[in-house]
Amino acid sequence: MEKRVYFKGWFLPALLITPQLLITAVFFFYPAGTAIWWSLFNPDPFGLSTKFVGFANFDYLFADSYYKESFYTTAIFSSLVTLFSMGIALYLAVLADRLIKGAGIYQTLLIWPYAVAPAIAGILWMFLFDTQTGLISWYLGLLGYDWNHLLNETEAMGLVIVASTWSRVSYNFLFFLAGLQAIPRAIIEAAAIDGARFWRRFWTIIFPLLSPTTFFLVVMNIVYAFFDTFGVIHTITKGGPGQSTTILVYKVYSDGFVGLDLGSSAAQSVILLIIVGLLTILQFKFVEKKVHY
């Protein structure tokens, strides 16, 4: 029989969870509820006349081939950003974890980019790759390569992926490093004595023991790639060329805030909400089973 600790009464627990519930209600339930409400209307920008249209906003969206393409763009962008930022962070964390001298300096420097907001990161990369004045694009020009992310879709996508990845590596690095340091040395040393080389130790011991951290980061990074990368895309490509870097959240912005089409924008955020919710549920249902705590 399992022993359970429990508190008598309901007042103290209720009091303790109230702040969190309030924050969730104000910053999540209220805006999400408003978005669902507005997605059923076609209001004029000033909110002077509001017409109930049922699901017409959704019909309008799914009739738009560019909206469907935006799903595809988002899938590619998000999976590549998650893959690269986690892969690079894990590699760096493993190396930094093995350092004997100067570990502090390396770790500090690797964490620095986390202090840079995505929009600023976007500007920094844009300076490097600006088609006319960028440093790297100038060197590429010397090598005979004509860098032009304003017209070349692959280059544009590559650039926003690199910039988004760069600004996320630090965050992932921090968690991986903490995860690595939490693995008991004794296990690793025992394996080493048994003659296991580093990469064998890594794949059979370290990586499985890191899986809670990895799982957490996958969820967080997908959310990051879906939403927080807005700043990077807004500063570097503004969704172009064409709509080749218009991910779902950027379309919510451009239709709602540039196009002033609040009904469609609200419908898009509802769809986005559903997608991210489904993704997270799927991950918890299927991926989490493989995680060792």
Binding site: D44, Y66, Q132, N148, L151, L260, S264
Partner: protein, 437 residues
């Protein structure tokens, strides 16, 4: 203790009295200008505030044009909106449709008893902001039109005569060939591609951009900028892009950077690029008329404006509207208008300001600064050259940008890109029509 109390109450009273004496009615103005234009705008406000003590205008920059309009709309929904909102010409149809949110300018003026003559504004500018029944709804603030900027030094370097005729695209094409073959890395670049190369191109060649007089005659307008003239021009630009003669720099005025640095030989940009180019260009530059295609009947007609107008928002007190009227009337005064035109390269929007500038000899000492005005007013605007009035137009421009980019990159032909832009834009026009019915 008693003494202290008395002193305190006296200080308080003085504070209150001086407070009432100083508290002029505040008029809030949200705008989109920074840099040199922002400084000039702030100077106008300071001048007005210094000249009288009843009203105090407070100006605030809210971001670029789109962001400013958006901030104004969000504030209106929250009932915290300013008195005056700067809205770029693209947002005109949106504002006109928002009848409950605006207070038409002619009404503000007549209610405040301020004398105001809409006929004092030059025709193309007035027409843009006036209803079909002749009521002026907003006050034109900054208006410009696209012109051709020439880097004369780059022409000399390429062995071309900088005085050569560049009035037609055919002749510009020949110049581009020579510039390219002599090693110029950026023969031609542009700002605001849709505004210059589709919207103005259409008006300049007297072909429609949209049905129903480009939207002036009704919200049931449809885009028609996929005609032969537009296709011909965009295809020519696409070919130049492929051959490295036209360098695409971005959707807004990113191309200005390279032109001001002396890298580009030709640049199609608003006449209001003047302030920046004059300040930064370390080469001999010249302003020319926007080129046209020789052989198109009726070309060159007139070009149309870009820029912004000031909209008065509803829901404020009578006293405040009186202040708004006083300020707007101050802004349209000849002295302010003439100085604004001469400092920025924006058009003189009133006839008096235009004459005043001419008389002062400004055009003789700054050759080319009168080109924009001439280009706009030399012919009486036709039903398709007086401007555009299209809903959701900022978003439609975004679609046009996307489609044009696919032509510059060689992914699509001009014909299929323009057909697609028309198709996509029309969907938005119908949506705008239904939400404003």
């Amino acid at each position: 203790m008693k003494k202290v109390k008395r002193i305190v109450s006296m200080v308080l009273m003085i504070g209150m009295f001086s407070g009432t004496a100083l508290s002029a009615t505040e008029i809030h103005w949200w705008h989109a200008f920074k840099g040199r234009l922002g400084t000039l705008l702030a100077e106008q406000v300071d001048q007005f505030n210094a000249a009288q003590s009843d009203y105090k205008v407070i100006q605030n920059r809210k971001g670029n044009y789109s962001e400013t309009l958006n901030a104004g709309i969000a504030a209106f929904r929250a009932k915290k909106h300013p008195h005056i909102l700067m809205v770029f010409e693209v947002g005109t149809a949106t504002m006109m449709a928002a009848k409950g949110a605006i207070k038409p300018m002619y009404k503000v003026m007549s209610e405040a008893g301020v004398k105001f003559d809409p006929d004092g504004f030059i025709g193309p500018v007035k027409g843009y902001y006036t209803t079909t029944t002749g009521e002026m709804l907003s006050m034109p603030y900054n208006s410009s039109t696209p012109v051709l900027w020439v880097n004369r030094d780059a022409f000399k370097k390429a062995g071309l005569n900088p005085d050569m005729d560049l009035s037609t695209w055919q002749k510009v094409g020949a110049a581009l060939d020579k510039l390219k073959s002599s090693g110029n890395k950026c023969p031609l670049t542009t700002a605001w591609q849709s505004w210059v190369h589709l919207e103005n191109l259409s008006a300049y060649h007297n072909v429609a951009f949209a049905t129903k007089e480009n939207g002036f005659a009704g919200m049931d307008t449809e885009l028609v900028f996929n005609g032969p003239v537009q296709i011909k021009h965009i295809q020519a630009m696409g070919n130049w892009a492929k051959e490295g003669k036209f360098i695409y720099a971005g959707r807004r005025n990113e191309g200005g950077k390279a032109f001001r640095a002396g890298e580009c030989a030709l640049y199609t940009e608003s006449s209001a690029g003047y302030a920046g180019i004059k300040k930064n260009a370390e080469f001999d530059f010249e302003i020319r008329h926007l080129p046209y295609w020789e052989g198109v009947k009726g070309a060159p007609q007139n070009t149309i404006i870009g820029g912004s107008s000031l909209w008065v928002l509803s829901g404020h007190s009578t006293k405040e509207y009186r202040g708004v009227a006083a300020f707007l009337s101050f802004l349209s005064s000849p002295v302010i208008q003439a100085a604004w035109h001469q400092n920025t390269g924006y058009l003189p929007v009133t006839l008096v300001a235009s004459q005043k500038t001419k008389k002062s000899g400004f055009y003789d000492s700054n050759p080319g600064t009168d080109i924009a005005g001439i280009q706009m007013t030399r012919k009486t605007p036709t039903s398709v050259s007086k401007g555009l009035r299209l809903g959701s137009f900022d978003q439609i421009r975004g679609m046009i940008d996307e489609e044009l980019e696919s032509v510059w990159s060689g992914k699509k032909t001009a014909k299929s890109a323009l057909n697609n832009a028309v198709k996509r834009g029309n969907v938005l026009l119908r949506r705008f029509e239904s939400s404003n019915r």
